[in-house]
Amino acid sequence: MATTIGRTGRERAQLPGWILVPAIIGALLVLLPLVAILFRVDWANWWPLVTSPASLDALWLTLRTAGISTVACILLGVPMAIVLARGTMPGRRLIRSLVLLPLVLPPVVGGLALLMAFGRFGLIGQYFELVGIRIAFSTTAVIIAQTFVALPFLVVSLEGALRTAGTRYEVAAATLGASPTRTLWRVTLPLLGPGLAAGAVLSFARAVGEFGATLTFAGSLQGRTRTLPLEIYLQRESDPDAAVALALVLVVISALVMALVHGRTQHD
């Protein structure tokens, strides 16, 4: 049956009609709240609200930090994914689950954990403090928090891509006498292309949306640590219209990012 679907495309397996009922309810659950935002937006004041200095500071800070976090995710996540997918060290499965933990960890817990590590009295943070580097309350803290939560997204997508690709080309390269490093650069990494793009875009989206860990670990100061989600959370206290206007911006950014990922997976 599965092969029929995959091969010809003209012959399709018939789905039972009832399956659409829960599927549509599920889709409504996701889409209705997003549509509801559109109904609440104060369109007359939308532009002034999203272009206020506080909003622009938050938007610029968010894009900047999320961009840097994505680069950090790529630099660290690609080697991680390769080691996890191809490596043979013992306890790989355990390491894998631990490394992917931020995927399921409540963000506040992530923030606390980061504080315990990089805070003023943290495991590593105390030594930074000695040499005069303070991470808490800095933009660096925002980037660390975003990388912490976004990294697993990149690792998961890449690992999946690596497993799907299989090892036969690498084995062939090795048989033909290529060194491990050469095989990595010339065979493994090119194979990763589409998966890497999708993973990077997902990580970026996750970094843009990061909230809990940032609030706990980095604090909230305009232009330095107050990213778009924190700005929305704060504006909600005094100016719900501004919060809704900014929420729409965030939804649009996320939707664009998802469209980008989806477009890529459709093409391959």
Binding site: R168, S220, L221
Partner: protein
């Protein structure tokens, strides 16, 4: 080698999920009818909602067990919990449901239709924001700001001016929340040029940053000091911004009489004693 590679290639799934729309051959008579399914979905949601409503409607048949829903600022938690026990003891069959959150959150919930009988907020501005949803708010307590410092006050912070020192990491509430509004008022009145490391969303966040040692000092309410591992340094300029807590019966209260009885308890002798013990002053 070659044949087996070919074989693997053709059978490899091309993507995680094949989209089931975009079907080219939708012939009449298929069982997939999106309109019918949508109708069924709406019907199912409708039935679920009706079921939920009717089950809620069944209990008020017996008049005895009643529930008083009190929406209160988070800073009132210990005092209102204590008063709720007193209230339940004095009114048979009554349960007090406390919903404790930031004042702005409470007002937002009420204006979105959350059912409540009483609203008590941490400042008058948030109560004004509740507008027509409340009737005749009365002030029942006041609270002032105090400097929270690390236990033992290792940085030797004596007053407001010290928060502006270069070697002191200070954290305050953002101007948008009640504690931040009070902070701004004091800073403006005293002319202290404070460069905070962070403007937090709530007193709890400020306390957390000071208690964890990430910040050396923060401005919080007197009544919050007991909630964390911090010491208090009172400062005279705090009198510039005395925060008044108002309490009111909701216009659409389901239990207006109980709501008034609750306010009588809070503003009465016992309420005043409990509030004073927690560090609140009387307006």
């Amino acid at each position: 080698m070659m044949p087996s590679v070919e074989h693997v290639d053709t059978n490899r799934p091309r993507g995680p999920v094949r989209p089931m729309r975009r079907g080219r051959g939708t012939r009449p008579g298929r069982r997939l009818n999106p309109l019918r399914a949508l109708f069924a979905a709406v019907l199912a949601v409708g039935m679920l909602t009706t079921a939920a409503c009717s089950s809620a409607d069944t209990d008020p048949g017996s008049a005895e067990p009643r529930e008083l829903v009190v929406f209160a600022a988070a800073s009132l938690e210990p005092t209102f919990e204590q008063l709720a026990q007193t209230f339940e003891a004095e009114h048979e069959g009554v349960t007090v449901q406390l919903n404790l959150a930031g004042s702005s959150d409470l007002v937002a919930q009420i204006s979105e239709g959350a059912p409540a009988d009483v609203l008590a907020t941490a400042n008058e501005r948030t109560m004004e924001a509740a507008g027509d949803f409340v009737t005749e708010p009365v002030p029942f307590a006041t609270n002032t700001l105090v400097i929270a410092v690390n236990p033992g006050n290792p940085r030797g912070i004596d007053g407001l001016q010290d928060l502006a020192r270069d070697d002191v990491v200070s954290v305050i509430c953002a101007p948008q929340v009640p504690c931040g509004a009070a902070t701004v008022k004091i800073l403006n009145a005293t002319g202290v040029n404070l460069q905070p490391a962070s403007e937090e969303n709530s007193v709890t966040d400020v306390l957390g940053k000071v208690a964890s040692g990430e910040a050396d000092a923060g401005l919080v309410y007197t009544t919050d000091i007991g909630r964390a591992e911090v010491d208090a340094v009172p400062f005279p300029e705090a009198a510039e911004a005395i925060n008044t807590y108002p309490i009111a019966v909701l216009r659409d209260a389901e239990q207006p009489e109980l709501a008034r009885a609750w306010i009588d308890l809070v503003t009465g002798e016992e309420g005043r004693a409990v509030l004073a013990e927690a560090g609140f002053d009387q307006p």
